[in-house]
Amino acid sequence: MSSTVYQQAIKELAEAAHGSGLLEHPDGASRLDNPLCGDRISLTVQLDGGVITAVRHETRACLLCRAAASLIGLTAPGKNRKEIAEETVALEALLASSHALPAAWKELEVFAPVSGYPSRHGCVLLPFKALNEALAQP
């Protein structure tokens, strides 16, 4: 099936919905809306010495947003706040310019085709914003 954006990898990510659900005793939590499209994510995170030990989220959103949330569910555990901030910057750069990704963030590659559709950037970024916000809590 031909679609620039909906490659197999992104669809599988969305479908897998890694990390779905919510933690009962999170160290940080956030809820973000994208008023333009109605996407909504609630995200909870658990930390140990500044390192993410678990992320769970409830994402009611488009496929791109769900794929991004799922990627976070899959790959965020083990990273710290600074790494997540760097990854978010790398994602923004990827979307803005489709530039080559730093090797550290190769997992974001799946979102490269979205760079041609600025109206969808917010969908991909929403879960990362939610994660940063949850991590910003003391």
Binding site: S2, S3, Y6, L36, C37, G38, L63, L64
Partner: protein, 400 residues
Amino acid sequence: MTIALREQFPFYAARAACHYLDNAATSQIHSQALAAMVGQESHRANVHRSPYRLAEAATQAYGDARAKVARFLNAASCAEVVFTSGATASLNLVAYSFGETLKAGDEVVLSAAEHHSNFVPWLRLKERAGICLRILPVLPNGRIDTARLQDLVTERCRLIAITHCSNVTGAVTDVAAVVAAARAVGAKVLLDGAQQVQHGPVDVAALGADFYAFSSHKCFGPTGVGVLWGKKAMLALLPPFLSGGGMVGSVSLETATFAAPPARFEAGTPPVGQAIGLGAAVDWMMTLPWAEIHRYESMLLARLLAGLAVFPAVRLIGPADLHARLPIVSFEVAGIHPHDVCQVLGEREVALRGGHHCAQPLLAALGSEGATRASLALYNDQADVDAFLNGLEHALKVLS
């Protein structure tokens, strides 16, 4: 018909690739409207009467545009036509200006089908002035439940502000019922005609409303201009909204007096070039065979609805019949987000819109979190409908 029509649109002259089905968001501009705007802007002067040739011409052309809009609406006089920056500005004008004449406890009746532009201004007025809002519900098919007018329109009702046609469902409101209910209690009627005007001239006299609002960019004119029509006697009673140059009688350090309508409501330099473009657009529209166009649009709509009905995953948001309905079609696809549908079709050059369509109360009432919308105009054709239906089939495969 559409081939000849299409040649008159710069959009189709330049790029045939796109199946443009986002007409409810904005229509393409007609060449005559563009040329009139460009002509005015290219050698221009401000209006409001200066005695040199350019200024005389600008004042004249701006007045002519007003006369054309008055004819398009079958208004009783040019003085009933106020140029604004768009339908949203027109609706806010009424909410602020007519709103100033309301007292706490006065009631305004809206419907659950309103666009945010005819909903939020009234929510805000409720907060400012303590008026009560009463909301006409919608039926499961999205039509406004006018049977409820009887119990919702009380002696305290001062205004019914309601859409002429929904931008989500395409349902055309039973205006006669609304006007009758308003008249029975001495209330006024404001119609939001943003979606209606794209489908032919409107007869405000026959409709019997007191106010009518619309945008130029949805009826083949430029962006940046819209219209508020108001009955002369109504406008005469209203305080100004925006104030500034061009709308005063005299100004001292202490006080100001105001000009008669329509000048009273046109503070500052108006969108001169855009109003003249709109004048050309409605002038062109008045030359068209609307009975034929309506049959044509209905035929396309019927095929689109029939094609949609084939997909088991699709739920139509709005009436399935063709009666009192414009070719605006919204739907949900089970398990698939509207933005993903729009994206896949967008990649195939089918232009749709997805989301809440600035009508969150309506979607909430119909139990929907978002819908995909295809909206047709007179220049669309069977190929557009086919591209949409084929694209949707493709999208379902890609996204499931």
